[in-house]
Amino acid sequence: MIRGRAHKFGDNIDTDGIIPVYAVNLTEPEELGRYCMANLDPEFAGRVRPGDILVAGKNFGCGSSREVAPWSIKGAGISCVIAESFARIFFRNAINIALPVIICPTAARQTADGDELQIDLSRGEIRNLTQGEVFKAVPYPKFISELIAAGGLVEHIRQRLQREQEPPRP
């Protein structure tokens, strides 16, 4: 169960907005987290409390393939991103590194900055405690759920490579 305060952003938040280019050579999530959203809101990283939730509009994470974008969100202490929709590469990156990303247009639109949210990822349920509303997330396709269950792509591939390296049974 995830619980935290909502930080609200608009439509088409791009990866240059999420992590500025001068920070993209960093590789540690905590370091990257200090620059999260720096181009759009320099105070953001300082305001986030661990577990807080990022809520955005359409096409969140459009632009570059830089995986440091979801890493920086994770590193800043954000536990989950809810959006009306996600850009394709960002969505893959987030799933791959086990940053929970939830597609839920109604929750994304109705949530106000500072609302207290509680999220049950396994049931795909978003509870807005401030407004007393409950929202259902768009469910993941089966394959994506399996990736998430494996703990992300690194673990998924690690298990596959191990299987493939085992000698064939007689």
Binding site: R88, P141, L153, I157
Partner: protein, 419 residues
């Protein structure tokens, strides 16, 4: 099936595929750069992988921040160099490298009908060759390096037909800016964009690369062109292995077909801060600029430099403007020297940099400051993209960028040069 569906089916061992289907797709090439490659190497190691699936099919191109801009980028390139040496994979560094998306087609490393994944969002550029190419993040690229395949969901396909004959100074860049302006920055999200029509048949390869390159700016997963005689002439001079040509079926299923009449289209300018803010250059108004950039994976090829030189030759860059020309590769640079283009640029008062992504992602060699305005033949005008979040970026074709450098305000090339 559409072009994208045919290529994916062939690489997944299926007779046919449908949008939404999940596939394990074999890749013909995996590419990454100094911008995102180091995380891929770390993830590759965490996956317990020992060797890349095929060293000849893994390419590292040092292009974003090279020649290295600072100590951090030097350390990144050092580590990538070491990994490339251990694995024996294809390695392009300063002196051989160019911008990855200019370099790979030039070297014949991407051919029609292939599937390519790259750790850079503009990997979709190779769709100009009739390949299915898409950008991915570092962890996906690590998985592809380890296994030689990727998971993919078959995208819906959108067809874009362009009709008519383009006016002088109107390029592939203008067609794609116009298209993004019409459908929006999420107008093709998760989709394969397929470009066609008689106006496309007239375009040279460099213009097609510019268009496929910016499919991602509409959210596209890929941007593809059918192979024609121009494509074959381009690849046959470079290919060192066989390839397959796929064609979309006449009854292929497109989620939407867009028909654009472009005979009267003007050069386009995308106003800050979105590529979708495309307007006719005559509608921009008086915008004084501080910098003009001609280059990038969108417009750093030979035809782009020739177009810019037609404007700049015999003229002078405005005293208030810095004009920066970035050839996309060593081959482009050398040919630009041979044709006298570099001399034209220098005589005009422009500076010519080594091949690099450089100013486009705000890396180096032309970062812009608070309150500055840049007209740029690049692909993104997001807040903070080329430097200060307080700067403004106007996207345009290389001729508009060059003409604006001369006049000091954003203008139609015909205002300073003859077509």
């Amino acid at each position: 099936m559409t072009l994208a569906e045919k290529i994916l089916a062939a690489h997944a061992g299926c007779d046919s595929v449908e949008p939404g289907q999940f596939l394990r797709v074999k890749v013909d090439l995996v590419m990454t750069t100094d911008a995102t490659g180091l995380i891929s190497v770390h993830q590759f190691e965490k996956m317990g992988a020992q060797r890349v699936f095929d060293p000849q099919k893994v390419v590292f191109v040092m292009d974003h921040f090279t020649p290295c801009r600072n100590i951090e980028s030097a350390e990144v390139v050092k580590k990538l160099r070491e990994f490339a040496r251990q694995q024996g994979l294809r390695w392009y560094d300063v002196g051989q490298a160019g911008i990855c998306h200019v370099l790979l087609p030039e070297k014949g490393l991407v051919l029609p009908g292939e599937v390519v994944v790259g750790g850079d969002s503009h990997t979709c550029t190779y769709g100009a060759l009739g390949a299915f190419a898409t950008g991915m993040g570092s962890t996906d690229i690590a998985a592809a390096m380890a296994t030689g395949d990727v998971w993919m969901q078959v995208p819906i396909s959108l067809r874009f037909n362009y009709h008519g004959r383009l006016q002088p100074w109107v390029t592939g860049k203008d067609l794609i800016l116009y298209t993004i302006g019409r459908i929006g920055v999420d107008g093709a999200t998760y989709a394969a964009m397929e470009f066609g029509g008689e106006a496309i048949a007239e375009l040279g390869m460099d213009d097609r690369f510019s268009m496929a390159n910016m499919a991602i700016e509409a959210g596209g997963k890929a941007g593809l062109f059918e192979v024609d005689q121009k494509t074959l002439a381009y690849v046959k001079a470079r290919a060192r292995r066989t390839f397959s040509v796929f064609e979309p079926d006449p009854e292929a299923n497109y989620a939407k077909v867009h028909e654009f009449e472009v005979s009267n289209l003007e050069p386009q300018v995308s106003l800050p801060h979105s590529p979708a803010n495309a307007v006719d250059v005559s509608q921009v108004g008086t915008v004084e600029i501080d910098q003009a950039v001609i280059g990038s994976c969108t417009n750093g090829r030979l035809d782009d430099l020739r177009l810019a030189a037609r404007v700049l030759k015999g003229r002078k860059v405005h005293s208030r403007v810095r004009c920066i020309v970035v050839p996309g590769s060593q081959e482009v640079y050398l040919q630009a020297v041979r044709e006298g283009l570099v001399e034209d640029f220098i005589q005009a008062g422009a500076v010519v940099t080594p091949p690099t992504c450089g100013p486009c992602p705000g890396g180096h060699l032309g970062v812009i400051g608070e309150g500055e305005r840049c007209v740029s033949s690049t692909n993104r005008n997001f807040i903070g993209r080329m430097g200060s979040p307080g700067a403004e970026i106007y996207l345009a074709n290389p001729a508009v960028a060059a003409a604006s450098a001369v006049s000091g305000v954003i203008c139609h090339p015909q205002e300073v040069a003859k077509a």
